[in-house]
């Protein structure tokens, strides 16, 4: 069974793709059938991934199965479509199919009655298919193809409610920002192809190891890095992710947990042989990740939109993962990606449940007291937040600690301090959200669209069941990588041998204290309200405003594009009309003008023609004579 699934792992990606094609071409008039097909196809993928996981556990080591067919072939350039099944891809396959399945199940409730129900499921299917194709890729070419398809699917889903201007603009922003990153990524791939003559990961591993031009390697790596910076929304290409919440909330859960943003981190892990080949590149990766982690956490402290807080939290956590990659802790980074997938999906789906119940209210200040109305949503959300904050023994604790430990043990003291600070902020902003939205008093009785507060009730089971499953995972998933269980995760997913750090009691205790302190402080401000947030805001003054407005980065980018891109576009058009086109018209006018002048030479008088003839004869004779003279010399 395991062998068969291993060899047919491509079906995991192909089946959801076929579901997309069938829904798009034939089934779009039957929403329920479409949803059924979509769920069924991702369900098969989930089962196959589980068989792979189980098989790997039985095997005791990471399998290394590769198979491919050529897709684009010519001498000097081959792109294959293949599968590379090892510990890394098996774990990712599981995460993607598992989260996608739960999100699709949940969407049955959340998207109920939406006029685009069928196309929603078509897009969900292609999103999953593209991500799974990316995960299975055995070469950079295939990676790029599916990378872009993931981008397409996210464009379609972010802009799903295309009737809203904000959704349309967010989708566009996501695509274009990613394009900027992909520009670098594509150049990096071109360099790889030219330098090494292959795009296959396996072949490249050997080639890169024996390549000595570190300068060239550094350029290639940094170009490739632009891809993950765009896709995993790292500074300075992070701007699209917070806006991406314009899509339906289950889509946000998918994007933030398993697909899209995970792709960037996965790429770094998959091509770790090239990213880790120069220490300079690793430093850049670590710095970008660390900076993003802190920067986004600071912004999250000030936001009021429930999804926006979670979005900045994702940015921050992705920064954590990228930072882990940069300090060489690939295993820890992937481990955090895994645990984060569970609790971030949980948090977003929980937020979706709240938004669904409150008829699309997203401002946490207008919530309050939800615990009484929506107990399942509330308590699962709290579990997710505790996991994210890194409270032992929940999932996030183990993975975050693994990263902090790697930083500490690797001698990256600066990044270790930064990481600990981020942990404190994370705990604070998550519990700021929880105390405000779920506990506290109800602030308003009327919801913004005129519904009464007492109508609010818990979501249907198709929505709460995924929450419960994810809550379970958020509590227990950390043990697969915990030192107490012998770090099974690191046994299957590692680069150049397993890494074992002795658990440092100081690191563990300190990070736990910081997380608890964050929660306690949030309680003082928003639960007990003995501290006043208003006076703090006033004391911070303009700093608060800058942070609240996300450091004005979106505004700066918009200004740059308006001024430089649109400006030069207008200049070029002016040149085209007033110089190039003018020259063309001018030459036409010249010809026309010359014609109207010259026509007076054709006056029909024989004498005039005789003059021309004689003149002509003289000129020709002179020319012949001169030429003759020239030859004689």
């Amino acid at each position: 069974m395991f062998e068969w699934v291993l060899q047919h792992a491509w079906l995991i990606a192909l089946i959801p793709f076929l579901a997309f094609a069938f829904i798009g071409l034939f089934l779009y008039r039957w929403p329920k059938v479409s949803a059924g097909i979509s769920l069924f196809s991702i369900g098969i993928g989930l089962i196959m991934s589980l068989i792979l996981l189980k098989g790997m556990a039985n095997l005791g080591v990471s399998p290394d199965y590769e198979a491919a067919v050529s897709w684009l072939r010519m001498p000097g350039l081959t792109i294959e479509m293949g599968i590379l099944v090892d510990g890394l891809s098996i774990v990712m396959l599981f995460i993607v199919t598992f989260i996608a399945f739960l999100v699709q199940l949940y969407s049955l409730g959340y998207m109920k009655g939406d006029p685009g129900f069928a196309s929603y499921y078509a897009y969900q299917s292609i999103f999953a298919a593209a991500m799974l194709g990316l995960v299975l890729a055995n070469n950079f070419g295939q990676m790029y193809v599916f990378w872009e398809l993931v981008g397409l699917a996210s464009y379609l889903l972010i802009g799903f409610w295309f009737g809203k201007d904000s959704a349309r603009d967010a989708a566009k922003k996501a695509f274009i920002t990613n394009r900027v990153g992909d520009f670098g990524f594509l150049l990096g791939i071109l360099f790889v192809q030219i330098i090494f003559g292959t795009l296959n990961f396996g072949e490249l591993t050997g080639e890169v190891a024996s390549y000595t031009n570190t300068g060239g390697l550094l350029i290639v790596t940094l170009l490739l890095l632009a891809g993950p910076v765009g896709k995993s929304a790292q500074f300075p290409l992070h701007v699209w992710l917070p806006d991406a919440m314009e899509g339906p909330t289950p889509v946000s859960a998918l994007i933030h947990a398993a697909t899209m943003v995970a792709a960037g981190v996965y790429l770094i892990a998959r091509a770790f042989f090239i990213f880790s080949s120069t220490s300079e590149a690793m430093q850049v990766i670590a710095f970008i990740g660390g900076f993003t982690a802190l920067f986004a956490a600071v912004i999250a402290l000030t936001q009021y939109d429930i999804k926006r807080i979670l979005a900045y939290s994702t940015l921050s956590q992705l920064g954590y993962m990228v930072m882990a990659m940069g300090i060489g802790a690939m295993t820890a980074g992937m481990f955090h990606l895994t645990t984060h997938a569970f609790f971030k999906a949980l948090l977003f789906l929980g937020a979706g449940s709240v938004i669904y119940a409150l008829h699309h209210e997203q401002d946490i200040r207008k919530m309050g007291g939800l615990v009484h109305k929506m107990p399942i949503t509330t308590w699962t959300f709290v579990i997710g937040a505790l996991a994210l904050a890194g409270i032992p023994p929940l999932a996030g604790f183990w993975s975050k600690d693994e990263i902090l430990l790697s930083a500490y043990a690797g001698g990256y003291t600066g990044l270790y301090i930064l990481g600990s600070l981020v942990a404190f902020f994370t705990a604070f902003y998550m519990f700021r959200l929880i105390f405000t939205a779920f506990f506290g008093e109800k602030t308003e009785n009327h919801l913004h669209d005129g519904h009464e507060r007492h109508e609010v009730h818990e979501s249907p089971w198709v929505m709460t069941m995924p929450l419960l499953i994810l809550a379970f995972m958020s509590i227990f998933a950390g043990f697969i990588g915990a030192p107490v269980t012998g770090n099974i995760f690191g046994h299957y997913i590692h680069y150049h041998g397993e890494v074992h750090h002795e658990p440092e009691i100081m690191v563990v205790v300190l990070s736990t204290i910081l997380a608890l302190a964050g929660i306690f402080l949030a309680w003082l401000f928003y639960g007990k309200k003995v501290l006043s947030q208003e006076s703090l805001k006033q004391r911070l003054g303009w700093i608060y405003n800058v942070v609240f407005n996300k450091f004005y980065i979106d505004e700066i980018y918009a200004w740059l594009i308006r001024t430089f891109v649109d400006g030069s576009a207008r200049i070029m058009f002016w040149i085209d009309i007033h110089i190039i086109n003018r020259l063309v018209d001018l030459s036409a006018e010249l010809t026309g003008g010359a014609g109207s002048k010259l026509r007076y030479t054709e006056n029909g008088q024989v004498q005039t023609y005789a003059y021309y003839m004689i003149g002509g004869i003289i000129i020709i004779s002179a020319a012949v004579l001169l030429a003759g003279l020239g030859i004689m010399q």
Partner: protein, 501 residues
């Protein structure tokens, strides 16, 4: 099967249809339309058969036909098809067939319209299937006159009048072809002087040794001639105005295939006969190509008229084709041919949809639209497919061309290729802005009366959309052919240096 003159049939069916329509009474509009649809359908079918039955194991010129025509000048009616011309033949017929359906609602002087259109299709096709330089030029000139009449009679006036557009288009192409004619005559005379044998056979002309300065001179003339046709910077200004003024079917055929005669000619004639000249001129072409890519892409960002956006965008995309040709290696040439195919189906689809929308709404200004996906989901799907193809999304045939060109060109021109690749950002910017402005956003009641695509209007979308997506998912079906043709061509001129090695 092989005794049948299948290429002649494919080529002449539209022309026969054109003559037949001329004899029909002019009020039988329905009958005229169906005649045009039938002959183009048969041509498409035949070219698909050629595509399927072309023997890939042997390669080379196949389905050869040869009838001596003017023995004193060495001119033969010689047809044949290989891996480079076959995709072009297929492209012509895919677009020709779709163009008839995109013109379904033409009522004024339908008789003249459809016979000129069919003549145009034969003219374009002729340049791709012949192996004789004289016949090539003959067909090339055949297309100019129908285009002129079609534009000034059935075109539309917006920023410029249709008369201006038609005149500009025609004069520009005639000047281009004058350079070309000069080059062809020099080549013919030179070959005659070298061997004493008059011939316009491409293979014969290519087998001779011309001295370098002659090669440079003639290749430069061809660059001017073919470059103008391919809207090479700074000879591109006919293209946006021309497409904007032309009726839908002409925009489709012109941007889709006619323009590709330029790229095809540069490879099949210029490079094939004058490889040494090509190597000298190539860097110039490469630099101009980058001007095409970036300059035109930036202009697209400032445009509001849908046809101008696609018009300038096609100028931009031709830059990719040009740099692919200029890099002169197998990979880049493969990419250039693939790109011509991809851009052809994409541009034709775009123009078909814009034509349809314009017919119903009487505007092409993107600011007038918004939220059309509410009223016209099928049209929106078509626009999305064309747009995503245009920005080089994998899964669409255009990506294959772009990527291959980038790999091939990158080994030859580092900096220029990096600049060319940066074009993908600007393309994404203007395409997504356009799609967003036209299709998405709140529903506008003033467009509630617009009918979505239905019935025969779906034909261009289905045919061209399928070509884009199937080509994108199964690129080897076309690329293997192109690679075979390009390998043979480059081996013949001893230029088989492969990019990246």
């Amino acid at each position: 099967m092989h005794n049948l003159p299948i290429l002649s049939l494919t080529l002449l069916l539209p022309a026969i249809g054109a003559v037949f329509i001329m004899f029909l009474p002019k009020d039988k509009v329905k009958f005229i339309r169906w005649t045009a649809a039938l002959v183009t359908f048969l041509s498409l079918l035949l070219s698909l058969l050629v595509f399927i039955f072309y023997d890939r194991s042997t390669g080379g010129m196949q389905f050869i036909e040869r009838i001596t025509w003017i023995p004193d000048l060495g001119v033969s009616y010689a047809l044949g098809i290989d891996g480079i011309s076959l995709p072009m033949l297929l492209l012509t017929n895919l677009i020709g067939f779709s163009a008839v359906y995109a013109s379904w609602h033409i009522k004024e002087q339908a008789k003249e319209f459809f016979s000129l259109l069919l003549l145009l299709i034969t003219g374009v096709m002729g340049t791709f299937v012949t192996t004789d330089l004289f016949i090539f030029f003959l067909f090339y000139e055949v297309v100019v006159i129908p285009i002129y009449i079609l534009v000034i009679m059935w075109g539309s006036s917006k920023r410029v009048t249709k008369e201006y557009a038609g005149m500009k288009l025609t004069i520009y192409l005639l000047i281009g072809s004058a350079f070309l004619l000069l080059g062809i005559i020099s080549l013919y005379v030179k070959a005659y002087l070298l061997t004493g044998k008059p011939s316009t056979d491409l293979m014969f002309l290519s087998s001779l040794d011309y001295d370098l300065s002659f090669q440079i001179f003639v290749f430069a003339l061809m660059t001017l001639g073919f470059g103008t046709l391919l809207s090479m910077f700074p000879f591109h200004s006919w293209s946006p105005d021309g497409y904007a003024g032309a009726p839908t079917a002409v925009s489709m055929i012109h941007a889709g295939v006619l323009k590709k005669i330029g790229g095809y000619g540069l490879i099949r004639i210029g490079l094939f006969i004058l490889p040494a000249g090509a190597q000298v001129i190539a860097p110039v072409i490469a630099v101009l190509a980058i001007c095409n890519v970036l300059y035109a892409a930036l202009i697209c960002i400032s445009q509001k008229d849908l046809k101008y956006i696609v018009g300038y965008s096609s100028v931009s995309h031709m830059g990719y084709v040009l740099i692919g040709i200029a890099a002169l290696n197998l990979i880049s040439i493969n990419g250039a041919v693939m790109m011509m195919f991809g851009h052809g189906v994409m541009a034709a689809l775009f123009f078909a949809l814009i034509g349809n929308l314009y017919e119903k709404s009487h505007t092409r200004n993107i600011d007038d639209f918004g939220g059309l996906a509410h009223q016209m989901p099928r049209l929106a799907t078509g626009f999305m497919i064309a747009g995503l193809a245009s920005l080089g999304l994998p899964g669409m045939v255009n990506f294959i061309g772009e990527f291959t060109i980038f790999v091939g060109a990158f080994s030859e021109y580092r900096v220029l290729t990096v600049l060319a690749v940066s074009g993908v950002i600007f393309t994404a910017l203007y395409i997504l802005r356009t799609l967003g402005a036209v299709l998405f956003g709140p529903r506008q009641e003033k467009w509630d009366h617009l009918q979505d695509l239905k019935g025969v209007e779906m034909v261009p979308l289905v045919i061209l959309g399928a070509a884009i997506i199937l080509g994108g998912f199964f690129p080897f079906t076309i690329m293997d052919l192109i690679n075979q043709g390009a390998t043979e061509l480059l081996a013949h001129i001893n230029l088989l240096n492969i990019g990246g090695i």
